[in-house]
Amino acid sequence: MSRTARARKGTGALIFATALSTLAACSSAPPPPTALQQGGTTGGAPAGTAGGAVAGTTGAVTVPVGPSAPGTTTTTTANGATVTTTTRGGKTYVTTTKNGKTTTTVKPAATGTTSTDTNPGGSALFHPNEERIGLTPDSLTMCAHAALTYGQAFGTKDTDFNVFWDALNAEKNGIYGRKVHVTYENDDYKPTTAVQAATACKAKGIFMLLGGIGFDQIPAVRNWAEQNRMLYVHHTATIEGTRGQHFSFSELPTVERTGEAFAQLAVAKFKNKKIGIIERDSSNWTPGVKAFKVLAKKYGLNIVADTQVANNKGSYTDDLLTMKNAGAEVVWAWMNALESTELLKQAKSQQYSPNWLMFPFNLTSQTLGSDAMSPPLDGVAMYPAYSKGDYSGNFSSYADDMKEFERQYAQYDSGIDLGGIGGDLLFLNWVAQKALYIQLLQCGKDCTRDKFIDVMRTYKGKAPSHSSCPIDFSGDGFHGSDSLNFMETYNSPSGKVNWHNTQLCVRP
């Protein structure tokens, strides 16, 4: 005994790991391939992959990815393709992913819907007992995760974001007699904190979860929503990484579409100039640059430099020099408003003044002041511009909304200066809330989560309000817009440098 033991003496921690993996092998055998048959019998998959699924009985393993929606199966075939089959709204969506390429085919549903379907002919995502969570005869509860800590940079606090609902509850007695309660959980602009915030939101028993601005937080919460069966309506995020997801919806353009729109603006204004890109080094931002480059190639734009910068990098001197050295006359700052403000300040300090393309926020233009007018900055946004007291030009098409917005803030939240750096942020929030209100109204008195999804999907090119662009869910059923607004900085009547629209609701 002692002699054999010595042979194993001190073989290091690998034993430890090996012991654990042995443990793993014992305690969790691969799940039985029951779902394989389902995958094989859906019959809707393209011949190649379906054949693989049927023929490869030994190679196919179905991996449950958290609880799925009713009527949904996800199968991995032996040849590496993922087949997701979803029955919804009387149709069967078969999404096949292979080698990074996703194809979706739509077929009429197989005969007979599931017995649990309480929304015949419509969306069937939720179980009956989940449909009315957050709804009582006199209240509707929702919750949003948002970067409250960064709100301070815009001079806003979370109570400023509920003026629309306060006005609605006071003046119209809510929606069908239900007072609307929306609370906020701080996601601190970080994905992990956003998941924590979403968990805290869910515990409040909410009808749906709303996702505030943040390319990085939303993908994390989307995954969470799948695992937790939560209706999630969020701000802009990539379409990449959404395959097989059913619980997340956005009425705003995707990151990819936004990048493409920046390219459209560049083609329209700077076709023959040298273009540089300073982009956030992140898989949540890069798809936008890819889309930009595709269009840029098509129209022969001249991209001379492209640097990737980390989140909150701090000093951009090196990147600015790269732009300068390459002779870039136009620079696209593909980063958030706070970072691009910082970037512009450092560029001014380096005596570098190209034409800038960026997300338009009054925070940037007002902080930079006259520097934001030499030359004027160009922007692309998924929301309309706001400049307090200016209802002319492109503002005129939604001046009624602006005036209503100003009235409500004067009445219910007199503390905030809408002409300051946070005014446009509050307006875009108000516009989104108004659209949500109109859709909830359309959902009716007996609104359920599935019915609400159906309401969103009825939008095929119409706008909920004057200040919104048309919404259109006829694509994949989860992403509802491809329209963006082009903007430019100008000297507003109030004397501040603000953004105004140059072109509204630009489509591909």
């Binding site: 012991a19 958290g66 968990t199 994390a220 695992q227 898989s283």
Partner: protein, 636 residues
């Protein structure tokens, strides 16, 4: 039945009861916030507790490294992070899709691998330099390694699906909390076993003094690396739990400040105290929630205040703890308890100074000693020279020690006696010369390998682990007698049970022989110098080495005790049949016990032969007179 009793009884006698104060502290931190947010295991609460469990595991991992092995790491979240991402890669929907437990295993392996890389420079860098390097690692992992799309999933992060067992998928946070708690308990259990195994004891020895550890046969470099790898593996498992609880992790989840927070936790809890560090982890994670509850109005005053206050309090507590109780809260608790015990019982009486050395056979775990051909000396040193910069510390020294004799080594201070000792035991490598032990040339062997051949030694400044009990030291000293593997040690299955029983029996016998039973649980540092010396000799003898090398054993002893020492030394030779090499200044003692005497001066061996004759030689007298005239009387 009786075996179990032997295994645990001496420790049970010494171990403090569960530190109730710590438990009360955790309860105070945990309960109000959880009760405040009903139901108690609601999703947010469960998520919070999952996080606390993960931090508890991470705290245990850092405790292995800092508390047991004495290696500072300010970058532990690099290992936690790599564990999370490894789990994501192995189990992820868009990655390998293996079962969750495979992910955990891979997380442990990845944590261990990264920790091994960090541990390699730690073989040569200590203390502050290691601190700087590990914080550099924390930065590099956060800003570079985790930014790789393939590892960290970009700033979108890595998605970790919930585990499933068979077809049952763990969905709710409360369910996952159960798994997190099981993981914590499992790691706790492994850690308990680690401390009670040769590995934990070797870590303690390495932490206390690397030279002492090597003299017990501990391969210092190997055990340092092992400590890093074990710590990294446990941290990786903590990362797997952390990541799975949240579902999505990004590089920024594991920024350097998390590593610093973990150091804060471990120091507050008390380095080396498992209960302490885990309690502190729960305290640190739940404190913000607690403050949210009690601070309603205050929160609105300072919008971002709560997390700030929590962190400020944590940091203040840390500073207070370090300045007042360097051993952390666990140390403060046991200190208070001891004070109370002392008030009640007074100081324990002194043990007898005249020990009876137990006659122990060779431990079964050690190889049979080489058969010496008649006439071959136990130790043969030929022409050894050691140079320190400009100083020739040992100059062409040769010594021969025959079996069953006591050989003395004398000389004025700075003559090079201890340096020669170190050259013999391998603590340092001589520039020239050869050392032959039991007929084998060991010149190229490291210290721990020479110890394994059968050399026990003591040190001028007591070579014991001062913070550990007498009993524990006797176990540490038997490192070579417990040749079982890590898996057996951590699970207490197989070989380790058998060997541990044997070394505990030997330790008990030695304690009894020395008359130290009462002090089995007393930390060595609390004993008087003379008592420590006796324990040290006991440790040097407990593995029955062929050659025992004692460095000034009578230093600091009372004259009466020194007299007792003489008979002890004779017992070692006559009763136990061992060979002794002895450095000693006490001339009567030397003349009394030695069979042969070497005298060194300025690095050279200037005389050797029959002791009474050697001390009469004029050159020897001159060496002593020249160096220290006051000692003339001692020489006569």
């Amino acid at each position: 039945m009786s075996a179990t009793a032997t295994l645990t009884s001496p420790r049970a006698a010494r171990r403090l009861p569960v530190p109730t104060l710590l438990i009360a502290l955790v309860a105070a931190a945990v309960l109000p916030p959880l009760i405040g947010r009903t139901p108690i295991l609601s999703d947010p609460n469960a998520l919070l507790l999952c996080r606390a469990c993960a931090f508890g595991i991470a705290a245990i991992s850092l405790n292995i490294l800092m508390g047991y092995a004495g290696q500072i790491s300010l970058g532990q979240f690099a290992f936690v992070g790599i564990g999370s991402f490894a789990t994501g890669i192995v189990t992820g929907v868009n990655d390998l899709r293996y079962p969750w437990l495979a992910g955990v295993a891979f997380a442990a392996a990845a944590g261990a691998a990264l920790a091994l890389l960090v541990g390699l420079p730690a073989l040569r860098l200590r203390g502050l330099y290691l601190a700087v390097v590990t914080i550099g690692v924390a930065y590099a992992a956060w800003q570079w390694l985790f930014r790789f799309e393939r590892i960290g999933g970009g700033s979108a992060g890595k998605v970790l699906p919930r585990p499933y067992f068979g077809t049952h998928v763990i969905s709710g946070n409360a369910d996952f909390l159960a798994i997190s708690a099981v993981a914590l308990v499992l790691i706790w259990w492994l850690d308990v076993n680690l401390v009670r195994s040769r590995f934990g004891r070797a870590f303690q020895a390495v932490k206390a003094d690397e030279k002492v550890a090597a003299s017990f046969g501990v391969d210092v470099a190997r055990y340092k690396l092992l400590a890093f790898m074990l710590s990294g593996a446990v941290a990786g498992i903590g990362g797997a739990v952390y990541g799975t609880a949240f579902g999505t992790v990004t590089g920024d989840t594991f920024d350097y400040s998390q590593s610093l927070l973990l150091v804060v936790i471990v120091v507050i809890g008390g380095l080396g105290s498992r209960v302490g560090v885990v309690a502190a982890a729960f305290f640190a994670i739940l404190l913000p929630v607690w403050l949210h509850l009690v601070n309603g109005p205050f929160t609105s005053l300072f919008h971002h205040g709560i997390d700030g206050i929590a962190l400020m309090l944590n940091a203040l507590l840390l500073m207070y703890t370090i300045a007042r109780h360097p051993d952390g809260l666990a140390g403060a608790v046991s200190e208070a308890r001891e004070k109370r015990a002392r008030r009640r019982g007074g100081e324990p009486p002194l043990p007898p100074t005249r020990p009876n050395l137990p006659s122990l056979g060779r431990p079964s775990g050690m190889p049979e000693p080489r058969k010496l051909r008649p006439g071959t000396p136990v130790l043969d040193v030929r022409g050894v020279s050691v140079r320190f910069g400009g100083l020739q510390a040992v100059d062409n020294a040769s010594i021969r020690v025959d079996r069953g004799t006591i050989v003395g080594l004398m000389g004025p201070n700075g003559a090079g006696k201890t340096t020669l000792f170190n050259a013999i035991t391998g603590t340092l490598r001589p520039d020239t010369g050869h050392v032959e032990l039991l007929g084998q040339d060991v010149s190229d062997l490291p210290a721990h390998a020479r110890a394994a051949l059968g050399v026990g030694r003591t040190f001028q400044l007591i070579g014991l682990v001062k913070g550990q009990s007498v009993y524990e030291n006797l176990l540490i000293a038997q490192h070579l007698a417990t040749p079982y593997g890590l898996a057996s040690g951590l699970t207490r299955v197989g070989a380790s049970r058998w060997y541990e029983r044997e070394v505990r029996e030997r330790a008990d016998a030695t304690l009894e022989g020395l008359g130290f039973q009462r002090y089995a649980g007393t930390p060595v540092g609390r004993l008087s110098h003379g008592q420590q010396r006796i324990v040290e000799i006991g440790c040097a003898l407990v593995t029955s080495p062929e050659l025992v090398m004692l460095d000034e054993p009578s230093a600091g002893m009372s004259p009466a005790a020194a007299e007792d020492l003489a008979s002890t030394l004779r017992d070692i030779r006559d009763v136990l049949g061992r060979t002794v090499l002895l450095i000693e200044h006490n001339v009567p003692l030397v003349l009394d016990v030695t069979d042969e005497l070497y005298v060194m001066d300025a690095g050279r061996v200037i005389a050797d032969g029959e002791p009474t004759e050697v001390v009469q030689r004029p050159d020897v007298v001159t060496a002593y007179l020249g160096a220290a005239p006051a000692r003339e009387g001692a020489l006569a």
